[in-house]
Subunit: 370 residues, 2 copies
Amino acid sequence: MPDSTPDSTPASTPPLTPPLDLAADIVTLTAAICDIASVSGDEATLADAVEAALRTGTALQVERHGNVVVARTDLGRAERVLLAGHLDTVPLTDPPNLPTRLDGDQLWGRGTVDMKGGVAVQLRLAATVAQPRRDVTYVFYDNEEVESSKNGLGHLARSHPHLLAADFAVLLEPTNAQVEGGCKGTLRVEVEVPGKAAHSGRPWAGDNAVHKTGALLTKLAEHQARVVDVDGLTYHEGLSAVGIRGGTAGNVIPDRCVLTVNYRFAPDRSEQEALAFVRDFFAGYPVTVTDSAPGARPGLDRQAARDFIRDLDVPVTAKEGWTDVARFAQFGVPAVNFGPGDPMLAHKEDERVPITQLRDAEAALLRWLG
Amino acid sequence: MPDSTPDSTPASTPPLTPPLDLAADIVTLTAAICDIASVSGDEATLADAVEAALRTGTALQVERHGNVVVARTDLGRAERVLLAGHLDTVPLTDPPNLPTRLDGDQLWGRGTVDMKGGVAVQLRLAATVAQPRRDVTYVFYDNEEVESSKNGLGHLARSHPHLLAADFAVLLEPTNAQVEGGCKGTLRVEVEVPGKAAHSGRPWAGDNAVHKTGALLTKLAEHQARVVDVDGLTYHEGLSAVGIRGGTAGNVIPDRCVLTVNYRFAPDRSEQEALAFVRDFFAGYPVTVTDSAPGARPGLDRQAARDFIRDLDVPVTAKEGWTDVARFAQFGVPAVNFGPGDPMLAHKEDERVPITQLRDAEAALLRWLG
């Protein structure tokens, strides 16, 4: 179906790469997508190929915004679910870990894990599920592996928020084919411990800021982080010093020690609540926020999510890191991570995915949507 | 008396600056010396002037080694004492705090405190005490205000150690005209606390090196430093963190924290004993020495020192910082600091000395030597 939005790229531009064949099996399609290199900032060719394949191979409504491609059903279903994946990868290795290589039961190469296997699953579903039980929105976006300000999903959320409306979202990041629900929030602060400088030959004339920081470090070491159940999943919080600096010279009592602390908080807390907790923890010392991002509830109490868990029949755990699912949470859309590939192999030289995970992920999502 | 050592500079070189008049009063002489700028590394002109003045204005044996000038009596006395002072200053201010300016009862300008007042006192004594009760060696040296490897006294100790032989030494550094005996030693070490890196979203998978350092900081904060009597003076030790660093990224549990510690130890301990104490204090953690210098006993039990204290009749305290007196201690020569000027004004923009301190210091040392 032709797209009518004014800022879409004309589909008539002939692609320089072979078209993606959505009828191919998941392993062949994953390899084809990986072989179109798309390091962050250089996703146009792959976005072109994805857009063209969706326009020619599906009946979905397709929109293109920059290098973000959105394809949707509009069947008037009671619920809408959203599947999202990023098109970009971290840089290739030297020598390049592309083109992909099938070795026994594993597909090797950049993007096989993070996360072109997931992109291939999305495209296979888009091509094969013409009448899903719920309306579906597929989102393919750019610049996930770089600074947050460039993130294509973030840009879309600001420019076309209605396209992200859904009752439940699945981000196809690698999770070793299990469901990781929601994500923890992250808050980074600097805590400044003041002191008074003096010559170290006369330390009693000063007030050693580094010594005073010892009490805060001990408090951190002894802190029992919260373990919180949210929507049926268990999140383990963490309150950690990730940096410390103090001292100006080898013979001067430090007049200042700066502790950098990262608080990873369960999604039952807002960013504001997280900051209040940290300020209270370090009461008496100036706290400066250097980074903050909200967590995301898994939303496993929603019907679409319950069906998702039931249909997939794979282990369900809490996501302990931070992912783009939090961007959905900001719109009130619960979200989970589910995708093929071992996240420990993401960004590695020996990035590779078991082909059974590709097939199983496709089959599992087909059960849910079909 | 002409000098016959081969490496002396011929006195026939005409000085470009007015000659120093050792018959002038102490304030006039101090001003004249200050007005020959001699920032570290640029002491030749002042060394020339000092050498010329000693050769023409005294009967002392004069030697010149680089920009170090040594003048000695050789009267066959039972004891020899040594007076030493450095010719260099820290850089001038902008605009320059020279020429000196007499304002009421204070002489203002670079070097008035650190330590051309002391140099002037040495020159006045050299010119006026022809028959001292003890043989006297006067040493004027360069590069005291810069890195230790350039220190003129250190160079002389290595090239002509016999010139530093004495029963007792006085370094005319500013002490507010009281006697500061000996000096503490200084040891600087890095203590490494190891940990294990992990993503800060899963801190339990790592071992936070910064958190573990808290126990060491608390131990430092609670440490009761020794207060030690040595040769009748009281030294206050100090064991201080002077720096701390740890952390690699905002989302990584630090696998390493490095604490820089400065131990200022009383002169009853050797460098080796000081290091053994520090290694024991931080038992279990690797300790790397980055700097070490011995302390110096005040030697107030020696006859020359006892007479010095009696004749001066000024307060006597322990030197809490480190000074060049330690260089004498390495030769077994006890040494004290005694000189005009408030050390808190050294290196400052408003460097200035009360002229009474100049006169009193000259008079006190005259009583002792005369």
